[in-house]
């Protein structure tokens, strides 16, 4: 039993931190907040060069053959940097194609995704915001050459820059996952303005979007497990990013409490502040255990992997909320200013809290694992 990172994993983290500190400092994050696309082509290409985009893909398609633990390490570092990037939705889509794609689909997309020549995303939500695949209302009507997709997908991360969107829809044989090219007619992305400008959500209207029969990913009518897998990986990935945000917020709070003086002494010498910071550390360390246990369980295909993914998302959503919020409180007024960087992380954590199932969604999934579904 070993809960430590390997030397390679530690090097990966160091390299990622160094790269992001240099290439994605707060000033760069802020520039991207103001950018209409919201992400940087050169940053994306450099991530591909570093092997990040193919990290968990098979070596045969240009990947490194690593797993969710390494992906979580990178996502934690991106959360730490508040880096605006379609990284998580892209690697989620790539995972699904590697897992269930036929040879043609794998050839078409995996090398391009690993090389940073394409971006992808997953459209798991309809407008009613139910993460339960049973509620997906987007329809796939059979046509001569394949299917026509109609519906409205909500809060699709980074869909405005994606070349490929994974769309689960209800086909005559049941829930089916489709590979939809962004250039398809009938597909209209509507970018949303939301709290975290480093995360872009897009409303995606589908009006009879034509997809070929060869664009069905995995078994027609049997997309349930694949969609569940996407939700689990999305949950753990988001938890990793929230962990990075939370740890950064804790560091900022502690650094600030050491130097900020009121009543003639550093505020970090007051028990009200010290105890709050100690509670924040407990949450951060527990979040670390939750994220990497779940990431390992997915890689190891452990019997409790799905449960662990829900545990991680349920726990870390609340932990990150507390830690980032408490960091703001420790900072006082300065933390409430636009100029101070704390809100970049505070808002990233808030955005991810709501994605891939919020804490309540995963609490219900946990109880289903333990006691069966609600009748």
């Amino acid at each position: 039993m070993d809960f430590s990172f390997s030397a390679d994993q530690q090097l990966l983290r160091q390299a990622a931190r160094g790269f992001l500190e240099q290439r994605c400092p707060a000033a760069a994050v802020r520039a991207l907040w103001d950018d209409p696309r919201g992400e940087s082509e050169t940053l994306w290409k450099d991530m591909a060069q570093l092997g990040w985009l193919g990290l968990a893909l098979p070596e045969a398609v240009g990947g490194s053959g690593l797993g969710m633990v390494e992906t979580a390490i990178l996502l934690e570092e991106m959360g730490r940097a508040a880096c605006p990037s379609p990284y998580l939705p892209t690697v989620l889509a790539a995972w699904a194609i590697a897992e269930a794609g036929d040879p043609a689909q794998r050839r078409r997309w995996l090398p391009a995704l690993a090389a940073g020549e394409a971006r992808a995303t997953v459209a798991l939500l309809d407008g009613h915001l139910d993460w339960d695949p049973a509620s997906i209302a987007t329809r796939a009507e059979p046509t001569a050459g394949g299917f026509a997709l109609s519906g409205a997908k909500a809060c699709v991360p980074w869909a405005h820059v994606a070349d490929l969107v994974l769309v689960p829809a209800r086909a005559p044989r049941g829930l089916t996952l489709f590979l939809v090219e962004a250039s398809s007619p009938g597909l209209s992305p509507g970018p949303l303005t939301a709290l975290d400008r480093g995360t872009r959500w897009v409303s995606l209207a589908l009006e009879g979007v034509p997809v070929a029969a060869g664009a069905v990913l995995g078994p027609p009518g049997g997309a349930g497990p694949l969609v569940a897998g996407l939700l689990q990986r999305g949950a753990v990935g988001a938890a990793a990013e929230m962990l990075g945000a939370a740890r950064r917020c804790l560091e900022m709070a502690v650094d600030y409490a050491r130097v900020r003086e009121q009543f003639g002494q550093p505020i970090g010498s007051f028990q009200a502040v010290r105890h709050r910071c100690a509670e924040m550390l407990v949450e951060v360390e527990n979040a670390h255990a939750a994220v990497y246990y779940a990431a390992w369980a997915l890689d190891a295909r452990a019997p409790d992997a799905a449960l662990a993914a829900s545990v991680a998302k349920a726990y870390v959503s609340e932990a990150a909320r507390k830690v980032c919020g408490d960091a703001l409180q420790v900072h006082g007024g300065i933390g409430f200013t636009w100029e101070y960087d704390l809100h970049l992380h505070f808002k990233r954590a808030k955005a991810l809290e709501a994605m891939y199932g919020d804490a309540d969604v995963h609490r219900e999934l946990i109880v289903r694992h333990l006691a069966g579904p609600e009748p």
Binding site: D2, G268, R274, Y293, R363
Partner: protein, 404 residues
């Protein structure tokens, strides 16, 4: 990163499980002699004091192996050993700080439970501020004479000897005038009075020492080195109980789930109430995270890393979790959660553990959950330790710091 038990540890666990199946007493040991016998049996099987060095009767077992033994014992609700403080605290203290004569004299009898030990640290006016303790040990030439009062002495009524902290230099700064002794509890100058807790039971005692005698040869370490020694004894637990703790929580959780199928609200079982489900899901996420965190600590210990002040994070986390868990349990169980005896509705099992007997009801477990955030350094003290030694925040302005 591999969070499975290694084949060797798995085999070790299987061995412990088989041994327990063959040796677990049919009914919990009732008398002192039966409890000593169970303790000896555990020791002879190699499952007690196993973290001690081989030369002192231990097995130099890894922290994970110790945790596995405790975990398997928790799974079958095995009775605890009768000399836990001797094994976990007194023995390791003597091994690190004691003389050869002390090691030869005391260690074997701790392992066999021939001599039972207690810990004489806290005083009525020295709780969180332990270093302000007032019990004094005065040099009488060929021995020390001890006078003072101790409280929260676990196992005091059955102990033969106690690990004692007493003041030996009242003029010195408070942390530097304390010494550590091995005191005989079997002498006229030592009076033990059971202390009844809010649970109604008496697991602790008050100990009154009036001109009690301690031999010079029973001083541990140097004179006035007691505080330093006490600091190290607090770190000996080393995660051995961490998996067992979570196993007990999980067992209790599943019993709570079973009760939530039987109890009803708004015309349906509680387990079908979305509000109840959300709260159960939330507490179970916390419970699982306690397990992951325990694995992380054990993994670090197995690599030889000293947890140091980080163990404050663990203690703060699980003791506060335990309170939240039992608060929720009592809310879900309603009045039944407060009932410890009497007629119950059919189909409702209100035991926290698989065995029955004193202390297996939710009310008792609930009351005990209030102890964990007070003993062995209250939550407030743990937060101070974390702030000082993990986060490196500036020290708070404490009146005793300048002198200490």
């Amino acid at each position: 990163m591999d969070l499975r038990e290694s084949p060797a540890d798995r085999a070790f666990r299987d061995g412990v499980r088989r041994w327990l199946e063959a040796n677990l007493p049919a009914r919990p040991p009732a008398t002192l002699e039966e409890r000593r016998a169970w303790h000896r049996k555990l020791y002879q099987a190699g499952y007690l004091g196993m973290g001690w060095p081989v030369e002192y009767g231990g097995r130099s077992a890894t922290p994970l192996q110790q945790a596995i033994v405790a975990d398997e014992m928790a799974r079958v609700n095995a009775p605890p050993p009768i000399n836990p403080l001797g094994i976990a605290i007194v023995g390791p203290t003597i091994i690190v700080h004691g003389t050869e004569a002390q090691k030869r004299r005391y260690l074997p009898k701790i392992l066999t439970a021939e001599e039972l030990w207690c810990q004489l640290y806290s005083e009525p006016n020295a709780g969180s501020d332990l270093a302000s303790l007032r019990a004094r040990a005065e040099d009488r030439g060929d021995h020390f004479e001890v006078t003072g009062q101790k409280i929260w002495t676990s196992g005091g009524t059955i102990a033969d000897r106690g690990l004692l902290l007493a003041r030996t230099d009242p003029a010195a700064p408070k942390h530097r005038g304390i010494s550590c002794f091995l005191l005989s509890m079997r002498q006229p100058g030592v009076e033990v009075r059971p202390l009844r807790q809010i649970t109604g039971s008496e697991e602790f005692s008050e100990v009154f020492m009036t001109a009690a005698r301690v031999e010079k040869s029973d001083l541990v370490g140097r004179l006035n080195q007691g505080w330093e020694i006490a600091q190290t004894t607090l770190s000996y637990e080393r995660g051995a109980g961490s998996l067992a703790r979570v196993t007990r929580y999980a067992s209790a959780f599943h019993r709570l789930l079973a009760a939530a199928r039987v109890l009803r609200r708004h015309g349906r079982p509680l387990l079908e109430d979305p509000l109840v489900r959300a709260r159960l899901g939330r507490i179970y996420a916390e419970l699982e995270v306690q397990r992951y965190a325990a694995l992380r600590v054990l993994s670090a210990l197995d690599r030889g890393e000293a947890p140091g002040a980080a163990s404050s994070v663990t203690k703060l986390s699980y003791s506060e979790f335990e309170k939240r868990f039992l608060e929720l349990a009592l809310e879900i169980l309603g009045p039944w959660g407060q009932v410890s005896a009497g007629p119950l509705p059919p189909g409702l099992d209100l035991r926290v553990t698989a065995s029955s007997g004193h202390g297996d009801d939710w009310a008792y477990a609930f009351l005990w959950s209030r102890a964990g955030t007070i003993y062995a350094g209250s939550s407030e003290i743990q937060k101070n330790v974390i702030a000082d030694r993990v986060l490196g925040l500036p020290r708070d302005a404490r009146a005793d710091r300048a002198r200490a």
